[in-house]
Amino acid sequence: DVKVTQSSRYLVKRTGEKVFLECVQDMDHENMFWYRQDPGLGLRLIYFSYDVKMKEKGDIPEGYSVSREKKERFSLILESASTNQTSMYLCASIQGGISYNSPLHFGNGTRLTVT
């Protein structure tokens, strides 16, 4: 069974801090995603990566960056945390390829509070 692991379940940071959210998947998936989940707004895509060292902006990339140095690991970075980045962050992965037909696999989420 696919496992997507996010390193922290809860995180509290101060405004201006640099924050790293880590995500690891164990199924050799090409594609990985970072979403944020807010009440009434659903899931919004921040960044995604379709290969090592490759990244693309999603719908709300401002204030975030990502890193994918290894296939199994996809990191989300908040360069200077702000209170409006308080949210639930979800990592997901998916098998790619032309005959793709599999669903997203999600991690348990990291609830980040910026004070």
């Binding site: 594609n31 659903g42 899931l43 379709y50 979800l90 032309i98 669903p103 997203l104 999600f106 348990n108």
Partner: protein
Amino acid sequence: AQSVSQHNHHVILSEAASLELGCNYSYGGTVNLFWYVQYPGQHLQLLLKYFSGDPLVKGIKGFEAEFIKSKFSFNLRKPSVQWSDTAEYFCAALPGGSYIPTFGRGTSLIVHP
């Protein structure tokens, strides 16, 4: 822009009531469709999916969804809900050949015992 609309944001039902959650998507071509569920305190998990074939798809826990291409819809149904179905439900659409799904805003379902 591609979009997924969930028309019911909050639904409150009593146990044994029937459920139907609406989902509409805006893609014109081939599309893969999903319903995900997030139980309180748990991660998002797949409820059911449609890729091709029979437009009536059955998922886990007695849920089903019907793909109606002419209406661009993929509504989720359950004939008799249980208290344990209390959760947030997300519809998602994936255009054929893409690997970036678009999610709806979610529907919060509360089932009273």
